[in-house]
Each structure stands twice: as C-alpha cells, then as structure tokens.
C-alpha cells in the first residue's frame, strides 16, 4: 500500500539538516584542518559544495522519476541486473556506515561519560530506539525529525554565539592555509564529502522523494536543507578554529567537545555546559542514525521486494549491531570510516550522475501521475 504523499519542503529541509548535522561534526574541524591547516573553512566549504552538487543531481533524478525509489528507477534506466547489483552495494554500504557512526557515537559517550559501561549496551540501546522508531511510516518519521530540528539547530548556534568572545581572528587567517596547494584542497574536500553524514544526508533524499507532496517541494527542501546544514557546519569549524587555532584543533579527537567544555554562561547557573550539549549530541546522533537506518531498511525492502520498510526494522538490527561492534578502537574506526567513505563516493556521487546521464541519453522518464500539485 502506498502512503499518501504529504511531506512538505520544510520537513524535507529539516530531515536533511538533521541527517547532516550528526555526531560527526564533533570531529569535523580536526579532519578539515588535517591537510590544509588554516584553510579549514574553505576546504569545508568546497567539500560541502561537492555534496550540494550531488544532492542536486539526486534531486534532478528524483524529478524525472517522482513516484519511484532509486532502485525502481534504476531498473528502468540501466536494466534489472545492474540495478540490483548497485542496489545491493548501496544496501551494504549503508549498513557499514550506520554501524560505524553508531560506534563513533558510542566511543564519544564512553570516553567522556560512561567509561565503565560496556560498548554493547551503549550501541545496543541506541539501535533499539532507532529500530522502534523506524516501525513508523516515512511521513511520521519526517514529523519526528521536524520536531527535533530546533533542538539541534538552536543549541549549535548558541554554542557559536557563546564562543564568539573567545575567537581570535588571527588564528583563522590565511583562508587558503599556509604552504598548501590545489591538490591538498582537492584531497581535503573529497575527504569531507566522504564523511558518513554527507552520504546519509544525500541519500535520505532518495527515500523522501517518493513521499513528498510534489517534486517542487523535494527540490526546494533539499537545497534549503543542504544550505542550512552547511551553514551550521561551517560556523562550527569557524568557531573551533577561531578559539583554538590550528595546532590545538589537530590534537583532540573531538575538538568541538573540548569547545563545549571551555565555554561558560555569562552568569553562574550551571557549572559546565558540556553535559547539556551532550543531550544535543545524543539527539543529533539519534536523528542521523535514524536517517541512515531508514535508508538501509528502505533500500533493503526495495531490493528484496518487500511490502514495506517496516518488515526489516528488527531484522537488520543484529547485523548493524555486529558491524558497530567490529572496530577494535577509535583509530581503527576512523580508518574504516575514511576508507569506506571514500569508496562510498562512487555510490553516492558517481552512481547518480551515471544514472542521470543514461536516463538523459536513453530518454527514460517515470510516470508523473499520482502527484498532488
């Protein structure tokens, strides 16, 4: 049974923003600084520009096939066997991504708050909550994401606002970094575009498009979503770099967390704010993992031709759980994320471009019926 199409542009925007702004932003400034030192803001911008471009391509593809999911439309474009092959790659890739970001989040929790709690509990509880939530239909999930958006976006702006008195503009300049060349920027921006949150943010659109009110809503929502989330991410990089400078940003694994420890309210109400911001990180981790998990089970249900994505909600749980527990330590985890993420670019960036090109050449188009304008 098809759900009625009722997701609006605002809901699309908030779902994409929630998916992009995950726990990964805790580590984002470090990754940005790594290759291009003080060019971090610029490299983040370029990386997000890449994400923006491929988001537009996915949206264009969605406009051509407004009633079909990616796997359905790829069947008509490149034929059944290839579509299933790539569909299976997408499915596997997102299982890995969701597992790893859940583990990344669990590492953050365990290193700051729960050093003695077993990793299985931290990962398991989060995945169970996510799996329960994906039992709802996609419209309801977009309502849920909508509700959490202000609780994620406003505190992040607040964090930037509180750190403004500490920012030293000299630490940010030069914008293009010291002793960097174009190749560094290319490498760095691809590294940022390969971060798991970018993959999830891009691909959640493929799940949403068949459920948005019409394609206009989908396009407007996706462009707004990527713009707002890019703004938040760049602001965070700016704040961290401005407060710490290059060298101090490089050292901690999660420089944003250190920032939340540093800042203080102008009056004595709470001793430390990092616990409060931890609530925000839990929320943003939840929304990102929820989107990722949704992509997994939605693609899975299309791949195995199931009635609804709900069927897989609990079945995928042990698999993702095992993936999440596979990395032995933080370094190995980040190695995995980097490798898998780079390979993932073939799936999330090149594959949609390929599909769009073939569709343009072969002049394939999906039916536009069943759309409420």
């Amino acid at each position: 049974m098809r759900e009625p199409r009722q997701i609006t542009a605002t809901q699309t925007m908030m779902m994409i923003t929630n998916s992009m702004v995950g726990v990964a932003i805790l580590a984002l400034p470090r990754i940005a600084v790594e290759l291009v030192n003080s060019g971090a803001i610029l490299v983040t911008f370029i990386g997000l520009l890449l994400v923006f471009c491929s988001m537009v391509i996915i949206a264009k593809l969605g406009v051509r096939f407004p009633n079909e999911s990616l796997i359905q439309s790829s069947k008509t474009i490149i034929g059944r066997p290839l579509a299933y092959l790539f569909g299976f790659f997408i499915f596997l890739f997102f299982i890995l991504i969701v597992g790893f970001i859940t583990r990344e989040f669990a590492f953050i929790l365990s290193s700051f708050l729960f050093p003695d709690t077993p990793m299985t509990v931290l990962v398991g509880v989060m995945l169970i909550v996510v799996a329960i939530t994906t039992r709802n239909d996609i419209t309801t999930i977009s309502y849920i994401q909508f509700l959490y958006f202000p609780f994620i976006a406003i505190p992040i702006l607040f964090l930037v606002l509180l750190s403004i008195p500490e920012i030293d503009m000299r630490l940010i300049r030069p914008f293009i970094g010291n002793q960097t060349n174009v190749f560094d920027f290319m490498k760095g921006s691809i590294m940022i575009a390969a971060l798991p949150f970018a993959h999830i943010g891009m691909f959640v659109l493929t799940v949403l498009i068949p459920h948005t009110k019409n394609t206009k809503h989908a396009i407007r929502g996706s462009i707004l979503g990527i713009c707002i989330s890019s703004l938040l991410l760049i602001l965070i990089v700016f704040a961290v770099l401005g407060v710490f400078g290059i060298n101090e940003t490089k050292n901690p694994i999660w420089p944003v967390y250190v920032l939340t420890r540093m800042i203080q309210l102008p009056f004595e109400l709470l001793e430390r704010l990092d616990i409060l911001f931890l609530i925000i990180w839990i929320l943003s981790a939840f929304t990102t993992i929820l989107s990722g998990y949704l992509i997994v089970i939605y693609n899975g249900s299309q791949l195995f031709q199931l009635r609804s994505h709900r069927v897989l909600s609990y079945i995928m749980l042990p698999i993702v759980f095992m993936v999440a527990l596979y990395p032995k330590n933080v370094i190995q985890l980040y190695d995995f994320i980097r490798t898998i993420g780079l390979y993932g670019l073939f799936i999330t960036m090149l594959y949609p471009i390929l599909l769009l090109l073939v569709a343009l050449i072969r002049k394939k188009k999906g039916s536009t019926a069943n759309e409420t304008m």
Binding site: V129, N136, I144, L269, E271, I275
Partner: protein
C-alpha cells in the same frame, strides 16, 4: 493405553465436567407477531413480566365500553402523568366518538388525536419492540380490537441537579456540568448552539444494556468523512455493556495500547460546545456525565476552557506554565537522579556540596530513594481518591508528617528529594486533563529506571522514545502533535500561547473542516472615546439642549 492417550482422555473428561460455554443468558424471546389480538397480546406481556415487582397492568374501559389495558413499570414512570394525562382523558372520553366512527382501525388515531393529553405518543405494531419500550419506561396502551399498541413516553427517573464538575474547575466561566441524564445533556448543548445545523444522531450500543449513545456534530463545519468514520467505529463495537463513556473511548481510540488518551473527555458543556464549533464530533452516553471529543490532539489536553475567557497575555503565560508543569511531572525525578548520581559536575560546586551533605546519612543510591518516595506519593494519591471524605484530614496529616518530615528526620530520604517529589506531584496535578496527567505520571517510572541504569543517556533516549510515540500517534487520522509537527502557523497561535480571539480566524487546519472561517469578515471594533471632551455635555440628556 499410552501416556499420551491417558493425557488426552483426561483432558476430554475434564472438558465434559466443565462445559466451556457459559450458561446462556436468558434473553426474552418473543416471536414477532404483526397482527395480534388484544387478549393474546395482553397475555404475552403478562407472561413476560410474570411476577415482576414493579410491573403494573391497569385495566380500564375506553368510551365506556371497550376494554383496554395499560402496562407500565412502576419504578420507571411518572405515575401522576399517567393518571392525569392518560387514564383521566381515556375514562372521560364520551362514547359519542365511537358511534360516529364505526371503523375499528381508526380508533388508535382517534384516541391519539382526540383523547390523550400526553405530549409524546406513538404507535407500535410489534410486540417485542413494545416490550422494549415498556422496559425503557414507556407505557403501553392496548385496546380491544386494535391492530397495534399505543406507546406513551412516561419515563421519569430521578436525576441529580446540574452542578459544577469536580474534575474541571474554572475560576472564570460557566458553572454548569453534564449529568447522567442524556436528555438534560442534550438540552445543555442545544441551549448553547440554537441552530438547525446542530445535529444529534442517536445510536444504540451494548447488546444487553442497550445504552443510547448520541453523536453530536455541526453540519457544515464537521468533516463528513470524520462523522462517517466515527459512526462506523461505533457500529463495530460488540460488548454486552456500556456503563460509562470510558467504554466507548477504549473501543474507538486508534491505539489502545498507548498510555496517552486519544479521545478527550469533558464534563463541561462549554468545552463540548466549543469543540463542536471547531469541527470536532462529540459523543455522549446515557448514564455518563462525560462527553467524548474526537479527534483529540496533544495540545487539547493542557488547554482549559478558561483560557478563552480571560485576557490573552495572562492566559498565554498560564497555559505555558501548564505545559512546563506537564514536562516537569515527567522528567524532574529522572533529571535529579541523573545529575546527582552521574553528573554532579553539572551544578555549581556550592550547591553540589549542599546536596551531598543533605544526602550524607541516606543509605540508598539516589535512584532507589526517589523511586521509594515516588511510590509512596502514588499510594498517598490513590488513597486520597478512594477514601471516605470523613478521614481525609487524618490522611493529610499522615502524608505531611510521616512521608515528609519524619522520613527526612529519620535519615531515610534527603530533604532535596522531598522537594523534587513535591514539584513532580504538584506538576502532575496542574494538568487540566486527568487522563493525560495519569499517562505522564506512570511513564516517569520507566524513565526513572532508564536514568538509573544509563544516566543522562538513558533519560534522553527514554524521552526520545516517548516523544516519537507521541508524534506517531493519530486520533481519527489527525496527527497527535499537530499543529506543532506537522507544523501549521495558524494552529500555533492557539498551541503554546493563546493569541487574541480576533487573530484566531481559522478553525484548526488539521480537522479539514468544511467551513474554515471562524471569523467571517474581520472588522475593527472602534476604540473611540465616547466620554471625551466633545461629548461631555450630552451626559445630561435632552434637558440641556
């Protein structure tokens, strides 16, 4: 015989001993009989009510010669009305009537039109339905030679007077409340909405209680498919009894396992009328003072009818206070436990030291302490509801002294825990809707457990689960959290705050009503100065000029 056979044999014997089907309830089965003779009908009814204590059969002679019988149940009828409006005119009816009109079929019409004084009279030609009418407090009049019975509505059951409802008190607003009698309740609503579009649709639910349920809506405002859906759900109810509106609520709600109410109930006619005018459907059951309002959304449960009676800015603040108190009643104990036992670095050092010194002698971890106190509070609250009024004073003394003071002095709990519990309890009492407050009150125990195990992580995850559940709920297809998510700006004016009445132009968007406008043509109400200097002379009236 092997073991398995022995086992099955035993099972069989057992099932023989105890017949699984319960004894069939004796239904009064009367064969439908259209054309009946007077004597047969009288005998059938008399047989039916053989030795009933309150069954009465009064024999009279109409027009001086034709024998007739009046049947009624003495406990259910207004005897004075029967004597004055039924028996008296029948006995006094002159026999000339019958001489003029020899056709015997017309006698029933003749009696209704020329003899009976009573207002509510109808004709029934089936004995079973006549018996049902009798059981509802009507009087049956059977006359020899007639093909049908005359039913006179003489029902009178004692009912209490209209009082202010105890569950929904207001400071400013009407003081009347619904009572158990459905007729009176309809009157209260009709009195408020005197238009023909206000429809009352009667239905019957409950195979044995045959309770009359009424569906109220306003034609031209309420969505037609909503009305149809409510009717369909009501017709699907199959149960022997409907003893309160709560029975109906549990059958028609979308998610029966949810801790949150998806149907709003109210005892106040003004609330029911207000919701009818927004395009919702109201249900009432005979014998219950509660009206059910569907579809219900989350925000309705912390709104009070008083919000609209007072000025906007004051009531916005008060409504927001209510929302905060709902949230407090859910998370205060868990947040306290999370901070005390997991993250004491969150609060300023001086305060932290004070709390720790207060907890110095307490033998348990904070989560056990809070849990025990919460349980004690629940017991106290339940006792307050159930106990006789005369011993109320004793309980409050026990509650205050033992649970509060003595527990702290004994070192059983820390003073700050008592403060936390107090905030929680008061918070849950300030919610206008009891059903919603109960839902949140019960959920704080699982939340407390989650916090006890995982600290603030458990608390946030627990809240996420609760919020996700709330957002995914639907009441008759309306998202439970609308107009917050999915967002609707027009609806937001009446969600967290209460905007001025002249801004509330549209009816709630999520109800998809037929007539969207609450205010048809907004006009500026002039704020002129009638007592200004230019008009001061006209105060003395016509005398001066």
């Amino acid at each position: 015989m092997n073991l398995w056979q022995a086992f099955t044999q035993k099972r069989k014997r057992k099932s023989q001993e105890l017949p699984e089907e319960p004894m069939p309830i004796k239904h009064h089965k009367i064969e439908p009989n259209n054309i009946f003779s007077y004597l047969d009908a009288v005998n059938t009814i008399k047989e039916q009510f053989n030795n009933e204590h309150d069954f009465r059969a009064r024999e009279i002679e109409v027009f001086g010669e034709i024998p007739a019988t009046l049947f009624y149940l003495g406990s259910l009828v207004d005897k004075e009305s029967i004597s004055k409006d039924v028996i008296q005119p029948l006995l006094l009816a002159p026999s000339e009537y019958i001489d003029k009109e020899k056709q015997i079929e017309n006698i029933s019409e003749l009696i209704i039109k020329k003899c009976l004084y009573h207002a509510e009279v109808q004709i029934e030609d089936q004995i079973p339905s006549a018996v049902t009418d009798l059981l509802r407090g009507n009087t049956i009049l059977l006359i020899e030679g007639l093909q049908n019975a005359i039913i006179i509505n003489t029902k009178m059951v004692d009912k209490r007077s209209i009082t202010q409802p105890d569950t929904e008190q207001v400071i400013r607003g009407p003081r009347d409340g619904f009572i158990e009698s459905l007729e009176t309740n309809i009157a209260l609503l009709r009195d408020r909405i005197p238009i023909t579009d206000f429809k009352v649709k009667p239905l019957e639910v409950g195979s044995l209680t045959k309770s009359s349920v009424c569906l109220f809506y306003i034609d031209g405002i309420a969505n037609q498919s909503l009305i149809k859906d409510v009717e369909e759900r009501l017709s699907k109810i199959d149960i022997d009894r409907i003893l309160d509106a709560g029975y109906i609520e549990q059958f028609i709600q979308d998610n029966p396992r949810s801790p949150f109410p998806q149907v709003k109930n109210t005892e106040r006619p003004d609330v029911a009328a207000g919701n009818l005018l927004e395009g919702r459907v109201v249900l009432m059951v005979d014998g219950s003072p509660f009206a059910l309002i569907v579809p219900a959304t989350f925000i309705m449960f912390y709104q009070s009818s008083e919000d609209y009676n007072e000025r906007t800015n004051m009531m916005s603040v008060i409504r927001f206070t209510r929302l905060v108190s709902i949230v407090f009643s859910l998370i205060t104990p868990s947040a306290y436990v999370a901070v005390i036992s997991y993250h004491p670095e969150l609060i300023p050092t001086a305060f932290s030291v004070a709390i720790t010194s207060g907890r110095a002698g307490v033998p348990f971890p904070a989560v056990i302490e809070v849990f025990v106190m919460e349980a004690a509070m629940e017991i106290l609250r339940e006792a307050t509801v159930r106990m006789p009024k005369q011993v109320g004073g004793a309980l409050s003394i026990v509650g205050v002294l033992v649970v509060g003071q003595a527990a702290v002095m004994a070192g059983f709990v820390s003073p700050i825990t008592v403060v936390v519990i107090a905030i929680t309890t008061i918070g849950s009492f300030s919610t206008p809707a009891y059903s919603m407050a109960t839902g949140f009150r019960m959920l704080r125990f699982p939340l407390l457990f989650m916090t006890g195990v995982l600290g603030i992580y458990g608390l946030v995850l627990g809240l996420i689960v609760i919020v996700n559940h709330l957002v995914s709920l639907r009441s008759f297809g309306v998202p439970y959290f609308s107009p917050i998510s999915p967002m609707n700006w027009g609806g937001m004016r009446d969600a967290f705050i209460r905007a001025p009445l002249r801004w509330l132009i549209d009816r709630p968007e999520e109800l998809h009503v037929s007539n969207k406008k609450r205010i048809e043509n907004p006009k500026e109400i002039p704020t002129t100065n009638p007592l200004g200097p230019e008009n001061q002379n006209s105060g003395s009236g016509g005398k001066s000029s």
